[in-house]
């Protein structure tokens, strides 16, 4: 198996793209450049060389001189109470049974000023500074000991999230990438897609090695990435896009090479897809002598172009052969009018999965397929994960989480026989009469009014 698939990336290596989690639980995308430094802003700076070779998932504390100390977890010795070795020692203080003596006097209660904290930060680079600051803040807090132990812990956790100089290095998995964009960037870049909905799409679409899938991806390539990871270099993704070039910015942050992407991802624009016969590429191939006599730069350009022509021709062949094993549709182009056309290009008994941020869009599609015998089991699904705080004795759902994760329409493309009639439990005579009556009415209507576009929402 190809070594650049992230599955093989158990160990942090040079040139890898990775995700770093900070004590504040904010995340950041980084690349492990040999000899380079990575700055985490107020959480310090460290050298890439010091973390290469550890397993992904490892946490570190930033030390003096851009060095690091590996830690068992980012909260090690803080709220992680397992055997503490040599990192931060826990603070000792007294606490109250309840908060009856605690008065809210605002900022007056803290004797340390922001200026003093800034000065302390300048003193040194390691995690010690963070701990010293927290210690001083606690000492400078006049009513700290009037807080309950729970409230003190919460206070300390808050300060640690702010001042402790620690981080965790995570694998660039599709889920980690998605959650980074969703929580720390802009969820709209992914059309609001959540991790659980992505998982549901991959399972419903039965994405696996060897499948040939049709995809529309307006998430910047996240879906391409998630599919590639599951396909392991076998099969293909025919990517329908509406521009001159597909927009796949996120793939630049993954560990796939250009060659691997070329072999797996085959872009085709809407026009080429809808009209494969009329949109065959007309360039080349040129006779060998002519190619050989080209100047170097021109030849390289020519060969690159021919590579694309070959790829496009392969995709067009598949479109014409109706050879697709599934459709994954995550586009803002109205699926109600387009999906019924696309599914003609699919094989029988293959899944259709349409994502949209808004259920209303999918309802329109569902209505179409309820009356279209080419699709079985048309349904709209929603999945939402609720996270809980798991501190011993204080289990409860998190107070806030990110809303909206989208919806999927899913169904199975089948091959109905023209004119087959269901034998149901209904009275045949009655249903016959009803049909006649309906037909009569429809004819009357057609004469009376111009045809109504019932595909409209």
């Amino acid at each position: 198996m190809n070594s650049s698939f992230s599955h093989e990336k158990g160990i942090i290596g040079y040139d890898d793209w990775a995700i770093i989690t900070l004590p504040s639980s904010a995340t950041k995308i980084v690349q492990m450049r040999k000899g380079g430094s990575i700055s985490l802003g107020k959480f310090g700076t460290f050298k890439v060389d010091h973390i290469v070779g550890y397993a992904y998932g490892q946490s570190f504390e930033v030390l003096e001189g851009k060095d690091v100390l590996p830690l068992k977890s980012i909260s090690y010795g803080l709220d992680d109470t397992s055997d503490t070795k040599d990192s931060t020692p826990a603070l000792e203080f007294q606490s109250s049974e309840d908060n009856r003596d605690l008065l809210d006097t605002g900022s007056k209660v803290q004797k340390i000023t922001a200026k003093e904290i800034e000065e302390m930060k300048k003193e040194g680079g390691g995690n010690d500074v963070g701990n010293k600051i927290i210690e001083r803040i606690v000492q400078g807090h006049e009513s700290f000991e009037k807080k309950t132990i729970y409230s003190q812990e919460k206070y300390l956790t808050r300060k640690q999230r702010k001042f402790s100089r620690r981080f965790t290095v995570r694998n660039m998995t599709p889920s980690n990438l998605l959650n980074h964009i969703r929580k720390d960037r802009d969820p709209n870049k992914l059309m609001g897609l959540s991790e659980e909905t992505l998982g549901l799409m991959m399972s419903h679409a039965n994405v696996m090695p060897g499948g040939n899938y049709l995809l529309m991806d307006d998430t910047g390539g996240l879906l391409v990435y998630a599919m590639l990871e599951r396909m392991q270099g076998q099969g293909s993704i025919t990517l329908i896009h509406e521009n001159d070039q597909p927009k796949l910015v996120l793939l630049n942050r993954t560990n796939y090479s250009e060659e691997e992407l070329y072999n797996m991802v085959k872009p085709i624009n809407l026009l080429e897809f809808v009209d494969p016969g009329d949109n065959r590429p007309t360039i080349g191939p040129l006779p060998k002598e002519e190619v050989d006599s080209m100047p170097n730069i021109r030849r390289i350009k020519y060969l690159r172009r021919m590579k694309k022509v070959k790829q496009l021709n392969e995709s067009l062949d598949m479109v014409e052969a109706r050879a697709f094993d599934g459709l994954i549709y995550a586009s803002t182009i109205n699926p109600v009018t387009f999906v019924p056309r696309i599914i003609e290009r699919m094989k029988g008994s293959r899944p259709i999965v349409v994502y949209n941020q808004f259920k209303e869009v999918l309802i329109g599609l569902s209505h179409i397929f309820l009356r279209d015998s080419r699709v079985l089991l048309p349904n709209i699904y929603e999945s939402c994960v609720r996270q809980f705080q798991t501190i011993q004795g204080r289990l409860h759902p998190l107070v806030t989480s990110i809303g909206g994760g989208g919806y999927i329409f899913s169904g199975i493309r089948v091959l109905p026989i023209e004119g087959a009639v269901a034998s149901g439990r209904r009275n045949k005579k009655r249903s016959c009469e009803e049909r006649e009556e309906r037909n009569k009415k429809r004819q009357e209507k057609e004469v009376a009014a111009e045809p109504k576009d019932d595909t409209h929402l």
Partner: protein, 351 residues
């Protein structure tokens, strides 16, 4: 034979999913000479061989029909013979995504149960991966062995008949070296201490414990902490299936117009009744008591202005009316399956 690989044409010996109705999908193995009997008629297996997957199949008399579907782990999940509570797709798909179970992953699953999730794991890990699944109930174990064989999963699934809580996970035939662990056990905390012997020492290992009760979660969380697992987080997946419906758009102006019409017609009606009474009185006076005055039948009654089709059975979405496209959930929804407790273990490598 093709749950982990697509094929186009149905052959003798294939496992296929027969779609009989929305709520009835039946897995069968196609065998020459056999017949499938359903409430829509009988279907000889011979008539299935050579058809394309997804084909609609009519009975020999051409009355009833079924669809012949390609097996997938998700269809198997909704059609399989239940032996235990199973992990449904909203949960399983989230677990697969979050633990990044992909081609080449090495997964521990305990217990096997009805083997439903095993199919989804197998689809994801492919030929280069491996599933080590354990079941302590002998009959269920035997059934699982049979099914995995029939479904062509033997290359990637190793089933062991064992109680992992007391006997651990080590098997003699192979080094397990797992990177993902899924525990669907009544007491996962008894199994967690045995994991260190069989998980990867070179890469991050992800675990998910599937427990219906909060009390189980608390004990599991404690055990995970004690055994060196970190980033412990409990989650719950709630999922809904929405049906699309149409709701008639009834405008107030139409209702007003209709009321006015009713009022007008009532007035006319009263006039008519008065005339009728007069006619009756006249008839009585003339001693013609046998005069019969025909009343219109209620059903055929002229309702005048009738924008909402009152008194008629209106099919949802019927032409001639305006409709909202709306949606609603099914009448009974699955509101709780299990809590999912995730954690990771990162080998502390010494460089």
């Amino acid at each position: 034979m093709s749950i982990t690989k697509y094929k186009d044409t149905i052959e003798n010996g294939d496992l296929i999913m027969v779609y009989i109705s929305r709520l009835h999908i039946k897995p069968i193995v196609v065998q020459q000479g056999e017949v499938l009997n359903t409430r829509f008629g009988s279907f000889p297996h011979d008539s299935m061989i050579g058809l394309k997957y997804g084909a609609q199949l009519l009975t020999p008399k051409g009355k009833g029909f079924v669809y012949l579907l390609h097996p997938t782990p998700e269809l198997w999940t909704v059609s399989l013979p239940h032996r235990t509570q199973i992990v449904y797709t909203p949960d399983s798909s989230y677990i697969l995504q979050r633990m990044n179970v992909i081609g080449g992953s090495r997964v521990i699953e305990a217990g096997t149960g009805s083997g439903s999730f095993t199919h989804a794991f197998a689809r994801n890990v492919g030929q280069s991966g491996r599933i080590f699944t354990y079941e302590f109930h002998e009959a269920r174990y035997k059934q699982a062995v049979q099914e995995f064989g029939d479904h062509g999963l033997n290359d990637m699934v190793v089933v062991t008949h064992r109680d992992v809580c007391s006997q651990g996970f080590v098997i003699t035939q192979e080094k397990i070296d797992a990177d993902s662990v899924f525990l669907d056990l009544p007491s996962p905390w008894d199994a967690i201490p045995h994991l260190d012997e069989v998980i990867s020492q070179k890469r991050q290992v992800d675990i998910c414990c599937f427990s219906p009760c909060v009390e189980q979660v608390m004990k599991t969380v404690e055990s995970l902490h004690e055994n060196g697992w970190t980033q412990v987080e409990m989650t719950e997946v709630s999922s809904l299936v929405w049906e699309s419906r149409k709701e008639m758009i009834r405008e107030v102006d139409d209702a007003l117009k209709r009321l006015k019409d009713v009022k007008k017609r009532q007035k006319e009606g009263i006039e008519k009744l008065k005339e009728l009474a007069k006619a009756k009185a006249k008839a009585k006076a003339e001693m013609k008591s046998d005069t019969y005055i025909k009343q219109p039948k209620l059903k055929d009654r002229d309702r005048g202005y009738n924008p909402f089709g009152k008194g008629r059975r209106i099919a949802e979405g019927e032409e001639g009316f305006d409709w909202f496209n709306v949606s609603k959930t099914e009448r009974e929804i699955k509101s709780h399956t299990s809590y999912l407790t995730f954690a990771v273990k990162v080998p502390q490598l010494q460089l």
